[in-house]
């Protein structure tokens, strides 16, 4: 019963659309998910048994639909045309005399019937899933903000120079792929950048270096920021940790009382 109620408005909409003047045709084709959807609609409209499709009639109806279209949008219409060619092919097969009175299995329409039946099933499954979606969307679950990993909780790995270099090249590659349209004549000095990084760290506690690097405006600035990181590590001012190879480098400000090996010493 529920299904009937759901189905009726939809068919009505389609029927109304179908009666619109030809110039609104473009809109009409859009309501179909694809050529098979259109075929199923035509079949249902003509009250045809899907297992015994009068190919001539359906092909005519289907092509009428396509003919009304003035402009062909290749991306979309190619798919409609593909099915049109299948219909015409089947029609021609039906016209050809066959050697023997063919059994059902040799019915040239079988390919189409199988596809339509399968597609029809999927359509029904979709409507059932839609109902579930709607029901489920009324049941809210709590969503959490991702917990911020504290420095002592994270499993730490001391970064070797190679890891850093590796990340650096990875970052460079990413930067390279970006299109820079504006060239800015902005000079960034290492000193400035170091100050910037330190104040960022003082404010935020830690830094996702990968994110920071990608946020840099220019290649030059990004490079300088990497040098700064190296410089800061060298001077034992910050602690850089990479949890896994190719992952981001997390940077913390070293507190003066923290021994050189810091939290990764367990």
């Amino acid at each position: 019963m529920e299904q009937e109620n759901q189905e009726q408005p939809e068919t009505q909409v389609q029927n109304q659309d179908f009666q619109l003047p030809t110039d609104s045709y473009q809109v009409k084709l859009e309501i179909f998910e694809g050529p098979l959807d259109l075929l199923l609609f035509l079949i249902r409209k003509k009250k045809i048994d899907i297992h015994d499709i009068p190919i001539a009639i359906i092909t005519r109806d289907y092509l009428e639909y396509l003919d009304k279209k003035e402009q062909i949008n290749l991306d979309r219409e190619a798919e409609f045309l593909l099915i049109a060619s299948l219909l015409i092919y089947i029609k021609s097969q039906m016209l050809l005399p066959r050697e023997q009175e063919a059994g059902e299995r040799d019915d040239p329409r079988q390919v189409l019937i199988d596809r339509l039946l399968e597609y029809q099933k999927i359509k029904v499954a979709s409507t059932l899933l839609r109902e579930k979606e709607e029901d489920q969307q009324q049941r809210w679950i709590r969503t959490f903000l991702p917990p911020v990993a504290k420095s002592e909780e994270a499993e730490l790995l001391v970064v070797s120079l190679f890891d850093l270099a590796e990340s650096f090249f990875l970052l460079m590659k990413r930067k390279e792929q970006e299109n820079f349209r504006v060239i800015k004549g902005k000079d960034v000095s290492v000193e400035q950048k170091i100050k910037e990084i330190i104040s960022f760290l003082e404010k935020n506690g830690s830094m996702d270096f990968l994110e920071y690097f990608s946020a840099q405006e220019s290649m030059e600035e990004a490079l300088v920021s990497f040098f700064c990181l190296l410089e800061l590590i060298k001077n034992h001012l910050v602690l850089a940790v990479q949890e896994q190879l190719f992952q981001t480098i997390r940077v913390w400000l070293r507190k003066s009382q923290t021994p050189p090996h810091g939290p990764d010493h367990e």
Partner: protein, 182 residues
């Protein structure tokens, strides 16, 4: 003991972000028989089923989770200032149904069933994490193979893939539609 277990279950489910599985519970609680566990769940679910409760415990994607009851939907939306939740487009839903019923499946197979190129839909579904890539098919071109994800089950409130509408159910609906037309 049973009441104690019930309370523990409540706590564990309450604190879980992802559906809490029976295995995980056993891991935490330690020695507990399946019967005791099921009795605990049942008692807990009955408690929440009462109409004076706004939340309930649902079984989804193989685990338990707290969720609001559907009748209070509007209040949640008012609080979160969400007019309407976005739904999947019908093209995406169609693609998803095909994957659900035909998995593991490739892009070409999906497009063949729909009669429409489905590359874009697959991208959307991947982004929404409703499907996942599970490997490549040993066929010309080594196409990617897709499956539905845990998130898919949760999104539709299914406990497992066995909960998908059955073939018979679909056939019955088709039969009814046919009778309506004729």
């Amino acid at each position: 003991m049973n009441d104690q277990l019930k309370v523990i279950l409540e706590v564990l489910i309450f604190i879980s972000q992802e559906p809490l599985t029976r295995d995980k519970i056993k891991e935490v609680v330690g020695e507990v028989s399946d019967e005791e566990l099921e009795a605990g769940f049942q008692a807990l679910q009955e408690d929440y089923a009462s109409s004076c409760r706004g939340i309930q415990i649902i079984q989804t994607a193989g685990g338990f989770l707290f969720a609001t009851k559907p009748e209070h939907d509007q209040w949640v939306r008012r609080l979160l200032q969400i007019e309407k939740k976005t739904k999947l487009s019908s093209a995406a839903l169609e693609t998803l149904s095909i994957i659900a019923y035909h998995q593991p499946v490739t892009q070409a197979e999906i497009s063949a069933i729909r009669g429409v190129d489905s590359t874009y839909c697959l991208k959307t579904l991947l982004q929404k994490k409703l499907i996942k890539i599970v490997g490549r098919k040993k066929a010309p071109g080594n196409p990617l193979i897709y499956r539905t994800s845990e998130r898919f089950l949760q999104y539709f409130g299914l406990n497992s893939l066995d909960d998908l509408p059955k073939e018979e159910e679909i056939a019955k609906i088709l039969e009814e539609e046919k009778q309506m037309v004729s």
